[in-house]
């Protein structure tokens, strides 16, 4: 299905919330996923792969401590990215077991000033170059094993994708919607009437 960026962002926000993320991180995550999609990454698939790993984990356990470790046995790129952004950037980080590290990249785009140095995120089999203008992935878009290195350095983007819509296959869309669905309160007859506001006739 062909979605507007806004629809994709809203759907992803619900999915992160449905997977247990705090509202604030949900805003960060949905923006990051939308940005990835704009730069040509299959962001829907990235989101599903991440949430399938982190859905049972409390957000607090995923937040990195000052030494960039966390209580959970995997790290979350949203929690890492948000923490880097809050600090205004970083110099060099070597991280262990970050699921879908490419989702760190949109946070870096936001903190890089115009004409400033960029970042490179490297993992086994793939890398993501990040500048003020955007990001580009080379090799495998997903992490499997080994350390993840985030380095402040000159980065170059030979070609910058600029998508204005998001194409989601049915399976990916259904998987995201399954997470999103957890945010909806089951309907009851009472809520149907009271919650939306009954009242005077609407056909006159």
């Amino acid at each position: 299905m062909n979605l507007s960026l806004g629809e994709f962002r809203a759907l992803v926000a619900k999915a992160f919330r449905g997977a247990g993320y705090s509202w604030g991180l949900t805003e960060d995550a949905s923006f990051a996923a939308m940005r990835l999609a704009q730069y040509g990454v299959d962001a829907g698939a990235v989101v599903v792969r991440l949430l399938e790993v982190t859905e049972e984990l409390p957000t607090a356990d995923l937040m990195p401590d000052p030494d960039w470790h966390c209580a959970a046995d995997v790290m979350c790129p949203i929690c890492v990215g948000a923490s880097i952004a809050d600090a205004g950037g970083c110099t060099e980080l070597v991280l262990d077991r970050v699921v879908e590290p490419v989702l760190i990249a949109p946070f870096l785009v936001e903190v890089i000033e115009a004409d400033a140095e960029g970042y490179v995120i490297e993992w086994d089999g793939g890398r993501c170059d990040v500048t003020h203008d955007g990001l580009a992935v080379t090799g495998s878009p997903t992490w499997a094993s080994g350390p993840i290195r985030v380095t402040r350095q000159a980065a170059t983007l030979s070609e910058l994708a600029h998508a204005t819509r998001v194409e989601l296959d049915e399976a990916t869309k259904a998987a995201i919607e399954t997470f999103a669905h957890r945010t909806y309160a089951p309907a009851t007859e009472a809520s149907r009437l009271a919650g939306a506001g009954a009242g005077l006739s609407d056909n006159d």
């Binding site: 062909n2 806004g6 604030g24 600090a87 506001g197």
Partner: protein, 561 residues
């Protein structure tokens, strides 16, 4: 000429729900922004197609052409059995459905839209559509007007005044909804930069379609005797609109945008209050608008007790205003500032806010340009300054959320409500937290309570530690922390009232937003949905060239009523 400086009213005064629920349309309302631009740029309008059959079923196209491009309303008219007619969002069929197409639609576009637009939420539009909308007939008026016109008569003017529209829209979706174009993809066009311009254009063109449809149905009924509506009576038909809770969260989820709306209006008021000496013409214009506002109030009916009380107060306010203006010498220095101070001391909130709107009327040259500052870049979440010392975060919370810190959140009445999204229709609803199993599904639409919780947790943190450290330990406060960043730059961005209080009225949120659209005749149908009228009195597209695009929002004596 502005010589003195007057401060804008404080957010603590303006951003209260009862005051926001008393806002009126003004020169800065989005309908008026659109009409001024249409006039200034001499937009042209056409009806390239009107294929509506004798049963009132078919398709019609209405185009609006700017100096740079064309937009086309694609209107589908349906034959809806009366038992299916409902304004509620749970409806599945409507009397008419619409999409605003970006450009001139091809036959293939029209067929694609024919397969989707009548389905509304269950269909899909594309990046070449800007809005998706639908409308239902007014049972009270539509067939009566058809019958009158068919018989060669004009409809009863009193009846027209009492209802005010032939169809009411029940949703106008834009901004990427259901596959439509993202706002970000069109906001570089000057005509769409101001908020909700595509939506307002949609409704403006729908109004013309509805009038054409009713005249068409009269001609079909009696080709030999049917007449068209007399132009001045025709203008007394607006487009109705029913708005429910779906719109309410918008004011909370777009703090930067809402700040810019309110700040523009408050700046406009401050500029007028700073006028040292009003000219005779400006004074006369103001007095004229006060007289005309009375006509609006006279034709403003509501069956709802809350609004009836407010209208009674507004009526009494207008008496007080009349008496005050009989004696007041508006040629004195600082007369407008004096009047505003008097209004705040004397009138109900309805009357105070009406005075604000009326005072802007003679001062287009001072205030209209503020309409260019009412949009906001909301493409990315506000950056959180993690280096902010905890002491500063606490101080900002105290100054911007002092009202919330003063609330006893342990009292059930303080958080009696919860906003949630229902599984059934995926629409926001408001429930009773202590009576329904909805607490776990709560949406982040209670910034006051959440800011208070953050403040409580900050107490355990040393003043010299940083917000970044705090948020690593308390990711649940990230949402409030971000709003804290926004409110520093956007002081009108937060409603300074409890949005989950037992006594909170959602219609206050709806009215605040709809007043910025330019709506009139707010008619709540319960505490959480409201009917309004849009473009009532406005010129039709073909009349714009000879009309003042701002002169229509209050009736003139002798027309209608």
């Amino acid at each position: 000429m502005a010589t003195a400086t007057i401060d804008r009213r404080s957010p603590d005064v303006v951003m209260r729900l009862d005051r926001m629920g008393s806002f009126h349309q003004s020169r800065l309302s989005f309908m008026r922004t659109l009409l001024r631009r249409m006039k200034r740029e001499a937009w042209t309008f056409e009806r390239p197609r009107f294929d509506i059959d004798d049963q009132g079923v078919g398709v019609a196209l209405y185009s609006a052409t700017t100096p740079d491009r064309t937009y086309t309303l694609v209107a589908f008219a349906h034959d809806l059995p009366p038992e299916m007619r409902s304004d509620r969002v749970i409806a599945t069929a409507w009397d008419a459905t619409f999409a605003l197409h970006d450009g001139v639609p091809t036959e293939a576009d029209i067929e694609r839209l024919r397969a989707n637009v009548p389905l509304q939420e269950a269909g899909r539009v594309s990046a070449t559509e800007l809005t998706l909308s639908r409308a239902n007939r007014s049972v009270r008026l539509f067939s009566t007007v058809v019958d009158s016109l068919a018989a060669g008569q004009q409809p009863n003017a009193e009846l027209v005044e009492s209802v005010g529209y032939l169809m009411r829209t029940t949703a106008v979706y834009g901004s990427g909804k259901f596959g439509a174009a993202d706002r970000a993809s069109i906001e570089d066009r000057p005509e769409l930069l101001a908020p909700f311009q595509a939506e307002m254009l949609t409704v403006f063109l729908i109004r013309t379609f509805v009038m054409d449809l009713v005249e068409h149905m009269a001609r079909v009924a009696s080709p030999d005797t049917a007449v068209a509506l007399e132009p001045s009576l025709r203008r007394r038909f607006g487009v109705g609109n029913s708005t429910g809770l779906g719109m309410a969260p918008f004011l909370i989820t777009h703090p930067r945008l809402i700040n810019n709306w309110i700040a523009a209006r408050e700046e406009a008021l401050a500029r007028v209050r700073a006028v040292e000496l009003a000219t005779e013409a400006e004074v006369e214009q103001f007095r004229d608008f006060v007289r005309r506002a009375r006509l609006t109030v006279d034709s403003w009916h509501s069956e709802h007790e809350i609004q009836q009380q407010k209208l009674a107060m507004l009526d009494a306010d207008l008496d007080l205003i009349d008496r005050h203006l009989e004696a007041a010498d508006l040629a004195q220095p600082n007369a407008w500032d004096t009047l505003v101070r008097w209004a705040h001391e004397t009138l109900s909130l309805e009357g105070q806010e009406l005075i604000v709107s009326l005072l802007l009327e003679p001062y287009g040259h001072l205030v209209d340009e503020l309409a260019d500052h009412m949009h906001a870049d909301e493409s990315s979440p506000a950056r959180i300054d993690g280096s902010m010392p905890i002491a500063d975060a606490k101080a900002t919370l105290e100054s911007a959320y002092g009202w919330a810190l003063a609330i006893d959140w342990d009292a059930q009445r303080s958080d009696a409500r919860a906003w949630y999204v229902s599984e059934e229709k995926l629409e926001p609803r408001l429930g009773e937290r202590y009576e329904e199993p909805i607490g776990d599904y709560e949406q982040p639409l209670q910034p006051g309570r959440d800011a208070s919780r953050m403040y409580s947790d900050l107490a355990a943190w040393g003043d010299d530690r940083t917000l970044a450290e705090f948020l690593r330990a308390h990711p649940e406060h990230r949402y409030s922390a971000r709003r804290l960043m926004v409110i520093g730059e956007s002081p009108y961005g937060e409603i300074r009232d409890n949005t989950i209080d037992a006594e909170m009225l959602p219609i206050d949120l709806l009215r605040a937003k709809l007043s910025f659209f330019g709506a009139t005749h707010f008619d709540p149908r319960s505490d959480r949905w409201v009917r309004i009228n849009m473009f009532r009195g406005a010129p039709f597209p073909h009349e714009l060239v000879d009309t003042d695009p701002d002169a229509w929002t209050y009736p003139t004596a002798g027309v209608g009523a």
